[in-house]
Point group: C2
DNA sequence: TAATATAGACTGACCGGTCGGTTTAGTTTA
DNA sequence: TAAACTAAACCGACCGGTCAGTCTATATTA
């Protein structure tokens, strides 16, 4: 069996795992459900992953990989920093609207990270990377004069937090406010605060 | 046994429950651990609560009650809306610094809410109430002319989200940024965006 | 080229520990 | 004397992980 077929199998497993995770959360997700959904056998899953935890840790990779390709693409473009931030927000809005499942899973990974070192480290890595990406944009904005002189780290942190706030919408119907509407308002608010006026 | 002694017993149980929850998360929290920590017996705990879930649902009440007394006190004061918002942030900073445990538990309640109707409803109620409180402040700020003409609901939502972001600090050491420092920067940023200039 | 061997991929019944909750038989408290 | 417990044994559903064995495709041999 060649490598791509192995990856296909893993994808098959992780697709199932994500669905199960979203519906039940980590602790309440059953390997037997992953078995059913993946249309493989228990043995097959334990052939590829030595434990439930290993499987879900790999789900993070799987999922981050998908995102990072697009994120890097946004940042590589030679656009205005302010536009890059807008694009970033737009990207997450689009992702959310086309499939909110990964966002739901994120809440669970957060709570996993609270009690498990391995999950915490994995999430930390993901967010550190994302923070660096934001810092890059902001730094360019400051240096080019489009943005005010800001505390780059603090600003990046604040933007990250506000992007993450998209998770609220997975949980609550916030009367009369849509994700799109809310997120677009927020990015405009942030930009109006960090851009130089003239 | 009078009511206050019963409440004291419940407090004894819920204090233990919070500790266990913080260390292990809901699913991995064991009733036997709550028994041990509370220094009561299993029978006693099931005397007061008919199930694990009931117990933890009541933990939310217990914990909300403690907060809401202080929050209402902040809002009742006849201070400037901007100052009330500052006080609110300061209150959460202080709470976090004196005891971050409830904030850690919150992450778990979030993930509970994703999969359990009862927890979701409970959290929804809590946040709805908090939103209304914020909306009250903002509305007064707008009407008194201290704030710009704002979308009250959207602004309240944004402020709530940014207060919640304190949770990040339970999970990650954010290099070189303290809770206090971060939160104070954020509230200043928000205020500078919503207050009328002169 | 048919027979045999080997490794990798996969099956699914089963096991053993775990843990929420119950029961029982008594004891203490107000 | 009823309510509020204690202590400890117990129940039984549940589920992650195991493992003996099967299947398949590709060598290797005779």
């Amino acid at each position: 069996m060649n490598e791509s077929l192995q990856n296909q199998r893993k994808e098959q497993i992780l697709d199932a795992a994500l669905k199960v995770l979203v519906q039940n959360g980590y602790e309440q997700s059953r390997m037997d459900d992953v078995v059913k959904l993946s249309k493989l056998s228990k043995g097959a899953i334990y052939w590829y992953y030595k434990s439930k935890k290993e499987m879900y840790l790999d789900l993070v990779n799987f999922w981050v990989l998908r995102y990072s390709v697009n994120l890097n693409h946004i940042v590589e473009e030679e656009a205005l920093p302010s536009l890059q931030l807008k694009d970033l927000f737009q990207y997450f809005i689009d992702q959310y609207e086309s499939d909110p499942q990964p966002f739901i899973a994120l809440t669970d990974f957060w709570s996993m990270a609270q009690k498990d070192e391995d999950f915490r480290k994995k999430l930390q890595k993901v967010y550190t990377h994302f923070l660096e990406l934001l810092e890059g944009i902001i730094d360019r904005g400051v240096k080019s004069g489009e943005f005010k002189k800001l505390d780059v780290r603090m600003t990046a942190l604040s933007i990250m937090v506000n992007i993450e706030s998209i998770n609220w919408f997975t949980l609550f119907e916030i009367h009369g406010v849509s994700v799109k509407e809310y997120m677009e308002t927020i990015i405009d608010f942030i930009l109006s605060g960090i851009m130089k006026k003239h």
